[in-house]
Structure formats: structure tokens, C-alpha cells
Amino acid sequence: MIPLVYYLELSVLVFGIGLYGVLTTRNGIKVLMGIELMLNAANINFVAFSRYLADASGQVFATFIITLAAAEAAVGLALFLAIYRARGTVDVGELQSMRW
């Protein structure tokens, strides 16, 4: 059996990659993808601990997160689509109208 810590390391790695993507990339679609990665990193954590502790509620959480991620992706993509139609760009660096 693979030890728990391997899963956690994988999870941290995936979360880090996702976070890096969110913070550095300027393309809105890629930011959304980064967020997906972070959510899935959390999922790996939940499932791993669920197995390790023999408690099913972790898997329930994972299921919820998958559902939520789907909804988030739908809403996020719809937002960017609308922004693209209005502004002709999805570059988050240019979307600064909420600035002081």
C-alpha cells in the first residue's frame, strides 16, 4: 500500500502548480484551469485521508467538490465569454476597471 504521505506530496505539488498558474498567468482561461487544479489537489487530500482513516465522509466531500468545480467552471467560463464579448480580451491584467 502506498503510504499516505505520497498522496499528500502529490496534492501539495498539484496545489502549488495550480496556485502558480493562478498568480502568474494573465489569460483568464488559464487562471480557471489553475483553480481546477487547486480544487483537485484538495480532492486528492480528501480521498487519501478518507481511505487512511476509513471514513467515507471524505469521499462525500470529494463528490461535492467535483460538482462544485463543474458549476464553477461553467459560471467562470460564462463570465469570461461575456467579458470577451464586451471587451474583446480575457487578459486579467487589462481588466482593471474596479481599481481605485
Binding site: 493562478v22 498568480l23 491584467g93 474596479m98 481599481r99
Partner: protein, 619 residues
């Protein structure tokens, strides 16, 4: 009818509403509407008085208006209320009738009858109220009506400013009255008269912490402050002479017969609350008022102002009587004064109506032209000067006896006043009604019957009401007090002879100077120039008040304005400016870049994690 006494003020109130809403349909007929409703009031009043005369007193607990302890608006009918009901509704009724003639053809006749109906409603409410709060409400209402009616001819600047003056000066007294109510409510927890009187002895010795006065002394002096304003006592008497700018009927009704009596009535109503200390103040204020007002009446040339000052003087007499313990004497004078002073005012109004002038020097010889007015005025003057057998003598005599038993200084003041009163009222009478006919009086003619009839009725009252003394008036009226007042000593026969002598001397003086013209009044004026100037200028009290208002009050207001602008506004604006400055800097945080926000979240989460870890490690 005792149980239905609450109806008495309601009738004129309905008349007020009807005239206000539908008056434009009635036009000149408004007067009849007002009189019709007042007649109903008069009937109920008289039936109530009959009840009280039959020995029944009481009232109704009334309705609860504000749902709190002690705030029930009920009626309290005793000998005092009965006396006032009689005087107010009867004199009011006569003056309403007189108004038909006097106000005939005036553009504002609808407004006049509406306001005067509201006035009589509030006045009747005031005298039957069973608690101080309702008394105060009616008190303010009569003040309002007084304001409205003094300024009735509001397009005249002098009338408008006289109305304002009356309102503001009485307001000073009303403030004291209100404070008195607060004090009483704070200590007694009730404003119901009967409950107040029952518990008054408990508080006679309790200190109020102000100038070493007891609670009762403080409260009664504050209530008396209200009376000083309303009853035009020194030093708040300055509004009453100016109030003569209103129609003469208003002067007769409000500023002679009824409203100005409200102050005296208040003192009489709250009599059991007064302590010896406060009685002393009451007596001296009354005495001073009587004397200084009589002096001013002596030099005035305006037909109404002479009577106005004489009213102040008479009110001072009543206050003086109440102050020295002459409860019955004061109220007896109040009753007779209502009649003869209303009579004098209405006679003055009739003379003005005939001559179209207010200056007594422009009148003269009117007795032949206006005989009814003239002879009824003579009755009024006779009664006021206090010669037997008219009502003024019997009532004034009672006051003099009461004063003579108490205080020689006050007695001397009262005697001088009595002399001056007889002099100035006969100066007034002789100058207007006897002597040579002036140019203006040559065209004068007697007033219509609506005006002369009330004069005659009032003259009958002024002549014969004094005989009530022989029907046990005094024993009857003191039953309104919870306990018998101390018997007043005093040498009755001596005082009576002295007062007759003094009054006769006064009339003789007036006769020599103003009728025979044996001695010119100019002689006195020339020899007593400074004194004359001093009195003609009303002791410079108006000047004093104006200076006080302009210098002290305006100066203080200026300081307050600066304080408000610089300090209060400064703090408010400063706080606003501070936040603007701070947010100028802080708002730079909002870059609008989503990744900056995400970084901030990461940073915050990292810091939280580090703190948690540190706590674990350190623990």
C-alpha cells in the same frame, strides 16, 4: 348638570370648527353661529353654577388621554370653577353680542369669530380642568388665541409686533409654569389637583436644594411665574398695554375679563401648594404691580391704554389679596372686576366707534352724543374707583382689610393705588365724556343696540354684584379650599372709612383738574418733569428689555454661533476630512487586478498558518 360640565368647552370648540370649515358660506352670519353655540355653553355653565350653589361639587375622573400615571383629563367643579364659569361664559356671551355690532363689516369677521370661539373654549376648559397638565394645555391655547387676536389686523405693523411681544413675554412666564409642573411631577408623581393638595403637607419641609427653598416653595413660585406672565404682573406686565392693538372686544374679553385672570385663577387653584415664603413674594409682586401700573395709567393719553394699565393695576390688587391670604377677597374682586373692566373697555370701544380716534384729548363732551355709553362708563368708573355702593367698593374694601391686617408697607401701597385709581379713571371719564365738544365728537352718534345692550347688562352687573357679599359669597367661595383659611383680622370700619375718603379725594382731584380745569395738569407736568418723563416712558422697562435682548441675548447668541461654527462644525468637518485624507492613501490597495487579490489571500492564509504553527511549537 355637574356631570356634563365637560360639554361646556366643547360647544365653542364645535363653533370654532364649523366657522373655520364653513365660515365662507356664512360670512356676516358667523357671529350668530358662534353666539348660538356659546349660548348652549352658557346654559350648561349656569346650570352647573346652580348645582354648586346647591352644595354639590365634584367632577368626573375623565378620560385617559396619555396612557401614563396621573394623565387623566377630567373635570373638577367646585366653587372656584363655578365662579370662573359664571364670569367667563356670561361676560364672553355679552362680548360676543357686542362684537356683532363692533366687527360689522370687517373683512376678517369669519376669522374673528373662529378665533374668539377657540379662545372661549380653551378658557372654559382651563377653569374646569382637574389637573395641571390639562390646565397648561388650555393655558397655552388661550395664549395662542391672544396672539392671534392681538395681531388680528396683522397688516398693521404695530399690531403684528404687539402680538409677537405678547407671545414672547408671556412665554417667559409659561416656561416657569412648565418648570413648576416638572418639579411637582418629580416629587408628587401626579398632577391631579386633589392628589396634589392631599400630599402637599408632606413636601412642605422637604428641601429642594435651590436657595434653601422647600419643594413646595420652589414649585409654587414657579407656578406663580406663569401667573406673572399671563396676568401681566411686574416685571412681565409690558405686553398688556401693547395688546390693545387688537380689536376692543378682544381687549375686553381676553385682556380684561378672562385670559389675564387665568394667572390669578392659577394661584387660587393651586392655593394649598403655596407656603408663607411664596405668599410673601406673591403679595409684594402684586403690590408693586398695582402701584406702578396706576402711575402709568395716570399719564397715558390712549383711551384703551389707560384702561389697560388700570387692568394691570387691578390684577396686581387681586394678586396682592391672594398673597396676604385674602382668598375670598381676591376672588370677589376678580368677579366684579370682570364686569366693570369689560364694561369700561366696551364703553371705550363704543366711544372709538363714534369718534374714530384713540386719543382722549381728541374726545370730549361725548356724554350728550352717546348717553348710554357715557352713563354706563360712569358706572364702570364709579365701580373701579371703589366708592359705595357699587361692586368695586365692596370687593376692593375686602382686599384693603386683608392687606391692612398683614403688612403696613403693602397697605400704604394699596392705599396710594386706590387714590391713583380713582384719579386716573375719572381723568379718563371727564376728558372723554364731559367738557367741551371736540371737532371729532361733534359728528359722533350713539352705537347700535347690539353694542349698547351688553353695556347695560354689564353695568347692572358692575353695579349690583357687590351685594353678593351680603349673601355669604365669602363663606361660599372658601369652601373651594381643602381647609379653612386663617381668619383675617383688620379694622373693618376704619379701613372702610379710609378707603371711601381716599377714593373721594381721588375723584375730587380728577374733577378739579380735568372737569373744572381749575388747576392745569400742565402745572404738574412742568414741575415734575423728570418723574413725568420717567413714567411716560413706562419706567424705561421696554428699553431695558430691548437692550437686554440686543446686548446680552444677541451677544450670547453670537458667541454660541461662533462656538457652533468653529468647534462643533469643526469637529464634524474635521472627522470627515480625516477620513478623506486616510482613504486617499489606503484606497491604492484596490488595484483592480484579480491576481493581486489572490496574492493577498495567499499571503493572509500563509500568515495564519505560520501563526498556528508557531503557537504549536511554542506550546
Amino acid at each position: 348638570m355637574l356631570e356634563y360640565a365637560w360639554l361646556i368647552p366643547l360647544f365653542p370648540l364645535v363653533a370654532f370648527a364649523v366657522i373655520l370649515l364653513f365660515g365662507h358660506r356664512f360670512k356676516e352670519q358667523c357671529g350668530y353661529v358662534a353666539i348660538a353655540f356659546l349660548t348652549l355653553s352658557l346654559v350648561v355653565s349656569l346650570l352647573t353654577v346652580v348645582d354648586v350653589l346647591g352644595g354639590r361639587t365634584g367632577g368626573s375622573p375623565g378620560i385617559s388621554w396619555i396612557n401614563a400615571e396621573g394623565f387623566r383629563f377630567g373635570t373638577m367643579i367646585d366653587q372656584l370653577s363655578a365662579l370662573m364659569l359664571f364670569a367667563v361664559s356670561l361676560v364672553g356671551f355679552l362680548i360676543f353680542i357686542y362684537s356683532l355690532g363692533y366687527m360689522h363689516g370687517d373683512e376678517g369677521i369669519q376669522r374673528y369669530f373662529a378665533e374668539i370661539s377657540l379662545f372661549i373654549a380653551s378658557m372654559l376648559g382651563l377653569v374646569i380642568s382637574n389637573n395641571l397638565l390639562f390646565t397648561f394645555i388650555c393655558w397655552e391655547l388661550v395664549g395662542l388665541c391672544s396672539y392671534l387676536l392681538i395681531g388680528f389686523w396683522y397688516s398693521k405693523p404695530s399690531a403684528a409686533s404687539a402680538a409677537k411681544k405678547a407671545f414672547l413675554v408671556t412665554r417667559v412666564g409659561d416656561m416657569a409654569f412648565l418648570l413648576g409642573i416638572f418639579v411637582l411631577y418629580a416629587y408628587f408623581g401626579t398632577l391631579d389637583y386633589n392628589e396634589l393638595f392631599e400630599r402637599a403637607p408632606e413636601f412642605a419641609k422637604v428641601g429642594s436644594g435651590i436657595l434653601g427653598m422647600s419643594v413646595l416653595t420652589l414649585a409654587s413660585l414657579l407656578l406663580f411665574g406663569g401667573a406673572v406672565g399671563k396676568s401681566a404682573q411686574f416685571p412681565l406686565h409690558v405686553w398688556l398695554p401693547d395688546a390693545m392693538e387688537g380689536p376692543t372686544t378682544v381687549s375686553a374679553l381676553i385682556h380684561a375679563a378672562t385670559m389675564v385672570k387665568a394667572g390669578v385663577f392659577l394661584v387660587a387653584r393651586t392655593y394649598p401648594l403655596f407656603t408663607p415664603a411664596s405668599f410673601l413674594v406673591v403679595a409684594y409682586i402684586g403690590g408693586i404691580t398695582a402701584l406702578i401700573a396706576a402711575l402709568m395709567a395716570l399719564v397715558m393719553v390712549d383711551i384703551k391704554r389707560v384702561v389697560a394699565y388700570s387692568t394691570i393695576s387691578s390684577l396686581g390688587y387681586m394678586t396682592l389679596a391672594l398673597g396676604v391670604g385674602g382668598y375670598a377677597a381676591g376672588l370677589f374682586y376678580l368677579l366684579t372686576h370682570s364686569f366693570f373692566k369689560a364694561l369700561l373697555f366696551l364703553a371705550a370701544g363704543s366711544a372709538i366707534h363714534g369718534v374714530h380716534s384713540m386719543d382722549i384729548r381728541e374726545m370730549g363732551g361725548l356724554l350728550k352724543k352717546m348717553p348710554i355709553t357715557g352713563y354706563t362708563a360712569l358706572v364702570g368708573a364709579w365701580a373701579l374707583s371703589g366708592l359705595p355702593p357699587l361692586s368695586g367698593f365692596w370687593s376692593k374694601d375686602e382686599i384693603l382689610v386683608a392687606v391692612s391686617a398683614r403688612d403696613p408697607v403693602l397697605f400704604a401701597m394699596a392705599m396710594v393705588t386706590a387714590f391713583l385709581t380713582a384719579t386716573f379713571i375719572f381723568r379718563w371719564f371727564f376728558t372723554i365724556f364731559t367738557g367741551e365738544e371736540s371737532e371729532r365728537s361733534a359728528h359722533a352718534h350713539e352705537s347700535p343696540a347690539t353694542m349698547t345692550a351688553p353695556l347695560v347688562v354689564l353695568a347692572i352687573g358692575a353695579a349690583f354684584l357687590g351685594f353678593l357679599k351680603f349673601f355669604g359669597f365669602e363663606e361660599w367661595i372658601v369652601r373651594a379650599l381643602p381647609e379653612e383659611p386663617m381668619a383675617i383680622g383688620g379694622d373693618h370700619a376704619m379701613v372702610m372709612q379710609l378707603s371711601i375718603l381716599i377714593a373721594a379725594l381721588g375723584i375730587a382731584t380728577a374733577y378739579i383738574i380735568y372737569n373744572r380745569k381749575a388747576v392745569s395738569s400742565e402745572l404738574f407736568v412742568r414741575n415734575l418733569r423728570p418723574l413725568h418723563t420717567f413714567i411716560v416712558n413706562k419706567y424705561y422697562m421696554d428699553h431695558l428689555y430691548i437692550a437686554l435682548a440686543e446686548r446680552v441675548v444677541a451677544g450670547f447668541s453670537y458667541l454660541m454661533e461662533r462656538f457652533d461654527m468653529l468647534v462643533v462644525d469643526g469637529i464634524v468637518n474635521g472627522v470627515g476630512r480625516l477620513f478623506i485624507k486616510v482613504s486617499e492613501v489606503v484606497r491604492r490597495v484596490q488595484t483592480g487586478l484579480v491576481q493581486d487579490y489572490a496574492s493577498a489571500v495567499l499571503l493572509g492564509a500563509s500568515i495564519l498558518l505560520i501563526i498556528l504553527k508557531l503557537k504549536e511549537v511554542l506550546a
